[in-house]
Symmetry: C2
Subunit: 251 residues, 2 copies
Amino acid sequence: MALRGTQQHSIIADYLRTLIRSKKLSPGDFLPSEAELCEQFSSSRGPVRQAVAALRSEGLISSGRGRRSVVLGRFTSESFDSIYSVTHWLRERGFEPGASTLWLGRCPASEQEAEFLRVDTGSPVIFVHRVRSANGMPIAIERMFFPLDVGSQILNFDADNESIHDHLRKQGVDFDSVNRELSLAYASEEDARSLNIDPGTPLWRLHLDISDHSGHPVECTEILYLGDRMTLGMTNVRGTTSPLEVKLSEG
Amino acid sequence: MALRGTQQHSIIADYLRTLIRSKKLSPGDFLPSEAELCEQFSSSRGPVRQAVAALRSEGLISSGRGRRSVVLGRFTSESFDSIYSVTHWLRERGFEPGASTLWLGRCPASEQEAEFLRVDTGSPVIFVHRVRSANGMPIAIERMFFPLDVGSQILNFDADNESIHDHLRKQGVDFDSVNRELSLAYASEEDARSLNIDPGTPLWRLHLDISDHSGHPVECTEILYLGDRMTLGMTNVRGTTSPLEVKLSEG
DNA sequence: CAGTGGTCTAGACCACTCA
DNA sequence: GAGTGGTCTAGACCACTGC
């Protein structure tokens, strides 16, 4: 947990997270009152409440009118970078990320990619097809599509040994929002060979649509994960809304 | 989208959500400036910023220093009730929920339930085993465990035709926070029969640990969903944290 | 009834974006 | 340089909890 800034609200939030993660506060314990935090940090209530709101939206505490805030658990949240970058995701969890590139170059956009990337179907986009591994074991197939202006910056890139997203961010590409869809899929013949599994094995299919801060598309990606080793955890507290929706298709 | 209160911040947030959902604002469009919203609602900046923060954490907008906030999409968020109640979840999505109870009564707690419910392994808890359906088609197996003080209130309950959670909430049970874990499972012989599928069919396993606002356990549940009809959608914006973690087990 | 968090006001300064 | 959102202050009143 890095100190993310020198703003008072994030200092206070980090202090509270540390109280919880270091076990100085356990589930069921009370947080310091807002008045105490104001005094401790010589702050007004604004920053204190901003900090407490952050913890609440992370599922760490529950609070309400008239009662002290209560610690719920020691849950961790994902960083924004780990949402769209398999490399960051693996590193943050202590795995050594690996990539083996099967394809990197132009290809005509299919209908699905074209729609999100706002280009014509069949017009050229940059396509990257890789097998991703954790500690040397294959765990996922990655198919990434970039619009030409973004993707042309990786045409001469060593996609086996560096993070594409780190490189693009250094080039000024702004990854600001990600829309994810998780569903169930079955391994095709081709992907089964890449992952060294049987065709038809169930997989997690994760589809990512990534935009910059103006809402312009910068990437459209599909990742197929081996399902047996993956778990998705969430904690939600009444009164907060998480940007999540479980959908059910017509049957 | 119901008006959730008469507080200014939620009135303003609902106004903004309506602008987006009614297509008066489209992805890429600018939100009104905070100053304009202050004037329009005769409000100070506090409530306006609280409203805007809510939309940001729902993934609807992106904002940043020096620039107008931008609409990202028309994503919907799940209500808190729909997280822990299959009945609410189905109703909100326009399906007719159904339940067929296979078992309702006491049973000795296994190690897993005992740990979360904070009772001894083997001591009695209330167990409900149901097949859930949407529009008459089976879609999930539900196994719910309640501590005695909570669960004893449903021993004479018609679990086929009423929502257990609605009933318990009327009895004063406080469902305040939910920790969820989603993973991949394969249908057992027994569950396959209940769902009218082949044994070994891949399913989503959703495990719920539910607590009241003090952090005391009120329910521990496992739901196995037919995977082919389920999708999970999320939108995240840089700078906000969602209470979510994608975990990878050693392997 | 004292203490708590939820809501709101009316200012202020700053960092940043964009025309 | 005007406008914007991010941060902060110093108050205030209220609804509610728990003693």
